[in-house]
Symmetry: C2
Subunit: 338 residues, 2 copies
């Protein structure tokens, strides 16, 4: 019926005995209560030291209702983590949480229903907060938020008015940077290949493209927008179609690096050259952007920083604050493809 790891676990009772104080005082010391007599405090600390005491978190959780756990929820199936983005973000989050004595509980599952297993788990109060990265439909997020669970979203909520705290890369600005770079190197017919526009990142990068087009005194031509889904294959297919319909395209902004590479594959398959005939810009500055030939001009985002920002937002929410959204800047990295 008890924990088997240590044959006999030290408890407050024993510490109290050893230090000659009460359990209550031990608790006070353990929780940094300053109103404890220094000598008694020292005695308790000595007892802790001597016994190698380890706090039992389950007991504390039962008593306080707080678990010390923050869920990181990835709304997707297993394949999601194939994109290193999630791993990097998650470790950024984990790092910050750990420094604040919180642990990262990883939940990878499609959030389809309002009462799937993940939803139930989160509603049970088994975590002190939930960070959602990659949200498709945010009804679960809203529900939990309404129920009072501290919730933070990575990405920009689609429903503007929502009061749910979030942090995000400034994808709109990033999309503009990429597109403007193409214009400034002389492109006139600039197409874009979007990511999943159901996700805020996909939508906003597209918005950035549109903004840049109009800023350059042109009209947004819907024919130049190819909708894809972040994958190499989808981008290649879409690019082939764009080329067939608009042979005069001379620049492409792909919403991530993998799709930029897919676009390049299509372009070269049609016998054109990158960047001479068509310049291509990606997004992410992934490893692939560096190793591909031609290397990819791309928009770098600070992924670890994003994780950190999201985690810090969570900490603020837990402290009861109402943190402002954080937007992280992007940076254009010029290489060979544009």
């Amino acid at each position: 019926m008890m924990n088997e790891i240590t044959p006999t676990r030290t408890t407050y009772d024993e510490l109290a005995k050893q230090a000659g104080v009460s359990k209550a005082t031990v608790s006070r010391v353990m929780n940094g209560d300053t109103k404890v007599h220094p000598e008694r405090m020292a005695a308790v600390l000595a007892a802790v030291e001597a016994s190698g005491y380890k706090l039992n978190r389950a007991a504390r959780a039962l008593s306080t209702g707080r678990t010390g756990l923050i869920a990181v929820v990835i709304d997707d199936d297993v394949s999601a983590l194939a994109d290193p983005f999630w791993g990097i973000v998650t470790s950024g989050i984990s790092q910050v949480l750990m420094q604040n004595e919180l642990q990262t509980l990883l939940l990878v599952a499609p959030l389809d229903s309002l009462d799937g297993p993940v939803a139930h788990y989160l509603e049970r109060g088994e975590v002190d907060g939930a960070i959602f990265v990659q949200v498709h439909k945010d009804n679960l997020v809203r529900k939990l938020h309404k129920q009072g669970l501290p919730v933070v979203v990575m990405g920009t909520p689609m429903s503007k008015a929502s009061s749910i705290p979030f942090a995000d890369t400034d994808n709109i600005a990033g999309g503009s940077q990429a597109t403007n770079h193409l214009f400034s190197r002389g492109c006139r017919r600039v197409a874009t290949i979007t990511g999943d526009v159901e996700a805020s990142a996909g939508q906003n990068r597209l918005q950035g493209y549109k903004n840049a087009v109009t800023e350059n005194g042109l009209e947004v031509d819907k024919g130049l927008i190819g909708f894809a889904d972040w994958t190499f294959e989808s981008a290649k297919t879409v690019m082939l179609r764009l080329l067939a319909r608009h042979p005069d395209i001379d620049g492409v902004f792909a919403a991530n690096d993998l799709m930029a590479i897919g676009a390049i594959a299509a372009i070269e398959e049609r016998g054109k050259r990158v960047p001479d005939d068509i310049a291509v810009v990606g997004f992410d500055d992934s490893l692939m952007a560096q190793t591909h030939r031609p290397s990819i001009t791309t928009v770098r985002q600070d992924i670890v920083g994003l994780g950190v920002a999201v985690a810090e937002t969570m900490l603020a929410v837990i402290r009861g604050e109402k943190p402002d959204p954080k937007m992280l800047p992007t940076e254009l990295v010029i290489r060979e493809s544009a």
Copy 2:
């Protein structure tokens, strides 16, 4: 002092009242005890349904000493997760655990010391088990194992005799496959670029290379072994050095795809062609292997499967079994580079 998510949480007491039975019976029903009268059982279940009851895991944890949490420990700093491998493995693990009502606690930190924060955390009994992926020094693992914490290692323990359960890709066989492929396509001077040989994967892939060399009736030439560390840059540097000393190299087995790409960069920089002058084989079958030009001939490993195997091994250990090590087969994927 209480959980704030639901204003008033339903407890066994209330369920008992509603169902007209005792707390003890409620507990029995909740834990699937079959020796409960069907009618009472139905009554309890009805009460659960009606009240939207949610089990309080902290209370159970305090009472049973089990937390329902399994730690996945990645012995590295934040950058580790930049390699999608870890993310994929982790989600494979997470998937299996979730199906067994266990949650994944992610711990990303250098395991340098025997009493760093991670070590303390694990020793506290805050998890029911720990899965170590990527272990550099296994003294912490051994210590925890000795203390009775269920422990599983992903990878092959360096110290053979250890009784710690593990699962791994058969890296030795994979290394041989890659190397044999080079020989069978006519290469005579086959070099290798290793990963971190402090890690079992790096060591074993090298071993596979050596085995293949001798199987082909040749002597292992130490001059043909370039030690690198999984990165593009390290591989490129090492490859340049190998080429300078051994201009007759006509085949290279790189211990991962990224290094294969680094090697190709070096080879092409020296004005040679892949695969015509020098054939290159990688390992992992990552996205990059598919998108790179030339596309990379590589050894595919089942990464999700590895996560699943590791998680299932953990489940067995928790059940008190002594599971045999699992070795997952690899598969050669032939593309353009060799």
